[in-house]
């Protein structure tokens, strides 16, 4: 069926800010789909509140609205833009929900807009629990049986029909408390009785327990003619019980025979057909490990994280094909972009193994529970490709950048075998390493399998790796041993360590004596059956290299930013991709190296060549040996790429842009102090220390409060504000848990206004697109602060000083490319607090709102162009006619036990934008985009630390004026009452009713303002109040500055928003 004629203008809905469970994969999908739509001559209108995405670029869509993703806003866009269709299947659950709401209220019909890519009926059948169950029953596809009960007897009766064990899930309890798994009737009675009591509505869900079954996923495509294919299947190494986003996943499935594979494939095709899906769809199964029995766990009638993984794992561009199907094409009419010869209606055949490992934020949230459950906790993931499972696993482990290069997790070796046995029972991010240790201790596969339910095939593969460790330790080195180790992807550094040699010796032995080099293979969707046109490669050893490195043009290697994590998010992928595009336009051949399957940069048509590889010196060097690039760009790939600078220089690859020495100078305290002094730029007084005693001495000399932090870190990791010696002692202990190669910094903490700039510099001139001012005073990480462009309250003089300092610093550091500087304005003086001679988190945001493409400009400057010739002038660019506010977005509800109090260490996972003609409207939009939709019940709780109490009065008065009923803990209430606020005192958590807990559970509280006292003591009431609030879905603010901003936005609430098409800026 050819393209439909009734589709000309399509509205694409994005997925909004990055949160745990909804991450960069939707930028990848949306970008690919928009490009695919434009290729077909469509006019594309895009809405997404997330400014860090590539999909919100004006070259990706025709009209771009970075506006809050609410049904009202989307309605308004539809009225203004009059699209004929909406494609809602590319923006995750967020987009699907909005589309459903607009459809159900009749708005779409009224406006003559159709949903394409899916229908409302399809969404309902797939998403509604009951409808879904009914549909599956109709076509004979089994689901895990479940029933809602209100009495223990009903629970026992139902369990009798489905058999034990059963899962008990009380309705509406915090984080699933009160639930559990019952092996028999007695246990069921106990758990269920307790669960019914804890549940606010007196209900429990009783469900057949399928934990421990194999978890298998199929990615399926279907077109309007009914043609169906499966793109690939995937097997979770972690059985059912761990969210698939938190599981280690392998593609294709490894332990399924053709009978099970085809049984589930046929089932998936039946399901997609019955749901009448047109486009991509994901079906998750639980498969009994010892029978053919299976249950359908879930169906996602849209592109998803798994489909992004499947796309990268196979080379099959699911989002692109989905978009074409939405326009009416059938699978056999869409060419296979990889081979150029075949069509999209085929199933990829893999001749390699793909492993995905999630990236968890437990290094950031040291108090959060590491246990993995059905609630996803990972912020990102890495993928690796190899010809063996062991090799793919080893590559994925080192791609995670957690300073681990093998299956040996430090510390486990010291545990007793009994402790290891005990640890096997813990389902957390370290389980795979515990399994390796258990195998080393000789614990049998059977025992490990009985505890973990992980298939013995995988256990044996881990054993292959531990056996190799042993061989390297005990056998004399031979060419064969080296080759065997490399085949399993043992990095040189691990081989060196195990054989007692130096890295240099090992590398020399491997390369020069044995002649063992990495070979590169192509990901071609067809297992070499057809010639491929795509330049998508992975490495392996003991193989023929099939990649030809031509040298027709100058060649530049761009290092990507690896997995998405807190502090290094999608922004750096935006920068990497734009840099590649810019270098290509300048006539260079581009090579990208990255390992993140969720990103645009790892699409095979972005750079001239894509190497899907770990970002370690050895892996990069292997590529360099083959490609011999003329230079490398590291300043766009965040800390991941910057860390490779030294290694690249050693390989003889010139770093394009700012030199390595100057990057160092910005990080090295003493060198940096010298530069500041030379430029006569003040900074808060500070010291470098190594020991706790030195730190305490320094703190006392500077005077409290002080900032304590390690140097060379990401997103303020480990940074804390100390107000006493005991704080310093506590923080130093935390920092020193990891061996510190670099000194620790102790700085005077100035509680001033924080200001930030990004600038392009060519060594002579600079261009600052704009100055951004933070709403929160210094002390809260810049990534967690509300950022306002243009700065609202600095005054001409301060702005001039900032521009002057930026120019001086850029010149002194000889910056070629991008620089990011953070300032504190304290009592009218400007201090520099941090300089990063590289791209920063704010680059996409400031580029979009000013219309100045700074990554492109920086890339051209890196290649030798001059700022003054770029067409955007020099110095501080004139202000755009809009106020743009970047609002951080957090994922605290997903991380049990994590402290949500903001501080110098970054905690947000994403951001959204509010852009408008006025400050107030921009602020309102920013809060709305972040999901804060107030007022609801007009009740709030205030509990603040002593230092904040006087200031809290002003905030409370403003909320009171808006009609808010204010509850406050005793001492806060006292101050508020003394100052004329009608605060109602309440007890803290464990006090008698009414206490804070009762209030929160009444579900009538809109907002909690709780400013944390110092220290990380978990048992403090404040911590618990914040956690309970988050888990009951209440908005919590931990800074009075944020609270003031929110009340400003509420005071100026407007119903009709003005929309801004940023493509026209």
């Amino acid at each position: 069926m050819p393209k439909r004629e009734d589709i000309k203008k399509v509205l694409v809905i994005g997925s909004g800010p990055i949160v745990i469970g909804q991450a960069a994969e939707f930028d990848y999908a949306g970008t690919q789909a928009c490009r695919s739509l434009k290729e077909e001559g469509m006019t594309v209108v895009l809405v997404n509140s997330n400014p860090a995405t590539i999909m919100t670029d004006k070259d990706i869509a025709d009209m771009v609205y970075i506006e809050p993703l609410t049904p009202e806003v989307v309605k308004q866009i539809i009225i203004e833009e009059k699209p004929d269709s909406i494609l809602p299947t590319l923006g995750g659950q967020a987009a699907l929900n909005i589309a459903m709401e607009l459809e159900e209220c009749g708005f779409l019909k009224e406006q003559n807009v159709k949903l394409i890519g899916t229908t409302a009926l399809t969404i309902k059948k797939a998403e509604d629990r009951l409808e879904f169950k009914k549909t599956m029953e109709k076509i004979g596809e089994p689901c895990a049986p479940s029933e809602i009960v209100t009495t223990v007897e009903a629970a026992v009766a139902f369990a009798g029909t489905i058999g034990y064990p059963v899962v008990i899930r009380p309705a509406y309890t915090l984080g699933g408390s009160g639930g559990g798994i019952a092996q028999d009737e007695e246990q069921l009675r106990t758990i269920c009785e307790n669960g019914l009591r804890l549940s606010r509505v007196g209900q429990c869900l009783i469900e057949r327990c399928i934990a421990g079954w194999k978890e298998i996923e199929y990615e399926v495509m279907r077109d309007s003619a009914g043609n169906c294919i499966t793109v690939c299947n995937m097997e979770n190494i972690d059985p059912v019980g761990v969210h698939t986003g938190d599981s280690i996943v392998v593609a294709p499935s490894q332990t399924l025979s053709d009978k099970e594979y085809q049984m589930l494939r046929t089932s998936a095709l039946n399901i997609i057909t019955e749901l009448n899906i047109t486009g991509g769809c994901n079906v998750q199964y639980a498969l009994h490990p010892d029978t053919f029995e299976y249950c359908v766990i879930e169906v996602n009638p849209r592109v998803s994280r798994s489909s992004a993984l499947a796309s990268k794992a196979t080379g099959y561009p699911i989002a692109k094909v989905s978009a074409k199907i939405a326009l009416g094409y059938t699978l056999d009419e869409i060419p296979n972009a990889v081979t150029g010869k075949t069509v999209a209606s085929f199933e990829p055949a893999l001749d390699y193994v793909v492993v995905k490992i999630p990236k968890w934020p437990f290094d950031k949230f040291i108090m959060a529970k590491r246990t993995l459950t059905t609630q996803m906790k990972a912020t990102g993931e890495v993928m690796s490709i190899c010809t063996s499972f062991e090799g793919a696993l080893m590559k994925a482990i080192r791609s995670l950048e957690q300073n681990l290069y093998s299956m040996r997790l430090p510390g486990l070796a010291e545990n007793s075998t009994e402790e290891i046995r005990e640890k096997l029972h813990r389902i957390d991010d370290r389980r795979i390493f515990v399994i390796a240790e258990a195998i080393r201790r000789g614990i049998s596969y059977e025992e490990i399998h009985d505890i973990t339910k992980i298939d013995t095939w995988f256990l044996d593969k881990i054993a292959v790796l531990t056996e190799m460790e042993e061989r390297l330790k005990s056998e004399p080195m031979t060419k064969k041993l080296m080759l065997d180790a490399k085949r399993l992807e043992f990095p040189d550094r691990v081989i060196a360590e195990l054989t007692g040699k130096t890295l240099k010796e090992t590398k020399q032995l491997r390369k020069e004596v044995y002649g063992i080099h990495a070979a590169y293979k192509t990901v071609d969707t067809c297992a070499a059956e057809f010639e491929a046109e795509t330049p998508y490669y992975y490495s392996c050893f003991a193989s023929e290299n099939e990649v030809e490195a031509k040298h027709e043009r100058k060649k530049v290697m761009v290092l990507g930013s690896g997995p998405i994590r807190i502090g290094q998010g999608i922004e750096f992928d935006f920068c990497s991709v734009h840099s590649v595009w810019s270098l290509k336009r300048s006539g260079y051949e581009t090579i990208i190296v990255n390992n993140n399957p969720e990103t645009v940069s790892t699409d095979f048509d972005i750079a001239d060549k894509l190497y899907f590889e770990p970002l370690t010196p050895e892996d990069v060097e292997n590529i360099v040996d083959l490609e011999k690039p003329d230079g490398a760009v590291v300043q766009f790939g965040g800390q991941t790429a910057i860390k490779l600078t030294e290694a690249l220089l050693k390989m003889g690859v010139p770093i394009l842009g700012t030199s390595a020495e100057n990057v160092d100078a910005a990080e090295d305290r003493e060198l940096f102090d010298e530069i500041l002094e030379k430029c006569r730029i003040p900074r808060p007084a500070g010291k470098t220390v190594f020991t706790t005693e030195e730190a305490i001495a320094a703190a006392n000399e500077l005077g409290y409060p002080v900032l304590v932090r390690p140097s060379y870190v990401l997103g303020g990791a480990g940074m804390q504000i100390a107000i006493s010696d005991s704080d310093v002692r506590e923080f130093m202990a935390v920092i020193n848990r990891n061996v510190q190669e670099h000194p620790i910094l102790v700085d005077k903490y100035l509680m001033g206004k924080e200001v930030e700039v990004d600038a392009v510099c060519d060594g002579e001139d600079i261009l600052i697109p704009g100055i951004m001012e933070h709403v929160e005073r210094a002390g809260i990480h810049s990534g967690d602060s509300i950022s306002v462009y243009p700065a609202q309250s600095l005054g001409e003089h301060v702005e001039e000083v900032i521009v002057d300092y930026t120019r001086k610093l850029a010149k002194a550091l000889d910056v070629i490319g991008l620089i990011n500087i953070q300032f504190i304005v304290y009592k009218g003086e400007v201090y520099v607090i941090e300089v990063n001679p590289r791209s920063s988190r704010t680059v996409p945001y400031i580029s979009k709102v000013t219309g100045i493409p700074i990554v492109d400009l920086a890339s051209r400057v890196i290649l030798g162009e001059k700022v003054k010739n770029l067409g955007f002038g020099t110095g501080l660019a004139p202000e755009a006619g809009y106020i743009a506010i970047k609002m951080p977005v957090f994922s605290f509800e997903k991380l049990r036990g994590a402290d949500i109090g903001l501080g110098p260490e970054m905690k947000s996972t994403g951001e959204c934008l509010g852009i408008a003609k006025t400050f107030n409207e921009a602020l309102y939009k920013a809060f709305l985009g972040a999901g804060i939709k107030l007022p609801k019940h007009k009740k709030m709780i205030i509990t603040v630390k002593d230092a904040d109490k006087p200031e809290a009065v002003g905030v409370a008065k403003r909320f009171e004026a808006l009609g808010y009923e204010i509850y406050a803990t005793r001492s806060t209430a006292q101050i508020l009452q003394n100052n004329g606020v009608k605060a109602i005192p309440v007890h803290k958590l464990d006090g008698e009713s009414p206490n804070v807990m009762d209030l929160l559970l009444s579900h009538e509280i809109d907002l909690v303002i709780d400013t944390p006292t110092q220290g990380r003591d978990k048992s403090r009431d404040g911590f618990l109040i914040r956690r309970v609030s988050i888990e009951t879905g209440v908005t919590v603010l931990t800074s009075l500055d944020t609270a003031n901003a929110l009340v400003t936005s509420l005071e100026n609430r407007q119903n009709a928003l003005t929309l801004v098409d940023i493509a026209k800026l």
Partner: protein
């Protein structure tokens, strides 16, 4: 033990010996299925060939004997990248090496199977030798390889004597047992004559499951003998080798076609029927072997993913439009994948609706065959 794979073009791969330690010359072909290695090994169409599996990890789920598509292992040799040392699946009864050893099949592992596949793709299917003899004389071997021809394979694979399976004898597969699937209830009992050119077990199984009584005939049975038994329909099976070589069989198929009895043919059967009707077949550069080939039904426009295993193809321009029309084409290379004969109840397909290994999307063609027999009455 070391093993070598020597190709006709002089390329030598060094790996490790698996299976029996013998030496074998064969035609080297590749298969891209990611699962179903046992089904491939027991598919009689591989007689006279050595198979390279492009998926690098083979043997992961071990051997479930009931999944065998025939009683024997047919390929002359087996070429893989890595053989799993610990098979894992609840039905697994043995490891793949046990089977190779028991059936005396030599093989090689530890070689770069992708590099080998690329050679076969670029230069076409060619002969090769698997040997554990490190002192081979390359020139001598190459001469042997050039001279080697695959012939007489149908004779090798077909059954010795006629036998019948009745619906009462139906033996469910493990999966059917688990799902309690038996012979379709109320199905009319048709007598189907299955000509065995190297038939996969599941062809018979698909028919019996649909209530048919299937009588299997050796490949060289005459049309008269078959027709004497008055079958309701004739099923022509898959099989190995060059179809044009099977001159006698083609002559008998011509008679069957003329008799008016409904015919359904798969793979070799499809090619032989084409030849019987005066069309031509040709050897493909490297054939279609795998579980992911899209075939398009030209009547409905629907595309199905199919299991395939063939090195020869019916040439489109040799088809007389007055005799037959193309019903299926391969969506990738547009080669002929199925024919419908005009004014006759004859339906033939190049791909494998019986799957095993591979997708079951086109199993409905067996239902169509049943319908062809229905209308007959």
């Amino acid at each position: 033990m070391k093993a070598f794979l020597i190709l006709e073009d002089g390329t030598v791969f060094e790996g490790t010996s698996i299976g029996s330690a013998g030496e074998v010359i064969s035609e080297i072909v590749f298969n891209t299925s990611m699962t179903g290695y046992l089904e491939v090994l027991t598919d009689p169409s591989y007689a006279g060939q050595a198979v390279v599996m492009t998926y690098p990890l083979i043997g992961n789920y071990g051997i479930c004997y009931s999944d065998m598509e025939s009683a024997k292992v047919w390929p002359d040799g087996y070429i893989v990248r890595e053989l799993s040392r610990l098979p894992s699946n609840f039905r697994s009864q043995a490891g793949i090496e046990d089977v190779l050893k028991a059936k005396d099949i030599p093989g090689i592992c530890g070689i770069d199977t992708r590099a080998l596949t690329r050679i076969l793709r670029e230069r076409g299917t060619m002969n090769g030798m698997i040997t554990t003899n490190a002192d081979y004389d390359l020139q001598k071997v190459l001469k042997q390889l050039k001279e080697y021809r695959v012939t007489g394979v149908v004779k090798k694979v077909t059954c010795e004597k006629k036998h019948t399976t009745r619906p009462e004898d139906f033996i469910p597969t493990d999966l059917e047992k688990a799902k309690q699937i038996g012979v379709s209830e109320g199905a009319k009992r048709y007598n189907v004559a299955l000509m065995d050119f190297g038939s996969k077990k599941n062809i018979e199984h698909c028919l019996v499951k649909r209530g048919c009584e299937v009588t299997v005939y050796p490949a060289y049975t005459t049309a008269e003998e078959i027709l004497k038994d008055a079958p309701d329909g004739v099923m022509l099976s898959n099989g190995p080798g060059d179809p044009a070589e099977c001159v006698e069989i083609i002559a008998e198929i011509k008679k069957l076609c003329d008799s008016g009895v409904p015919i359904f043919a798969i793979c070799l059967g499809h090619q032989l029927t084409a030849l019987a009707n005066g069309f031509q077949t040709a050897k493909m550069k490297y054939g279609h072997r795998g579980a992911n080939h899209p075939v398009k039904d030209l009547e409905s426009g629907r595309v199905y993913i199919s299991s395939q295993n063939h090195g020869y193809v019916v040439m489109e321009d040799s088809i007389d439009p007055a005799v037959a029309k193309v019903s299926f084409i391969n969506a990738n290379d547009h080669t002929v994948e199925g024919l419908r004969y005009l004014n006759k109840k004859v339906l033939t397909v190049q791909f494998h609706p019986e799957a095993c290994a591979g997708p079951q999307d086109s199993e409905f063609l067996f239902d169509e065959f049943i319908k062809m027999m229905e209308v007959q009455e």
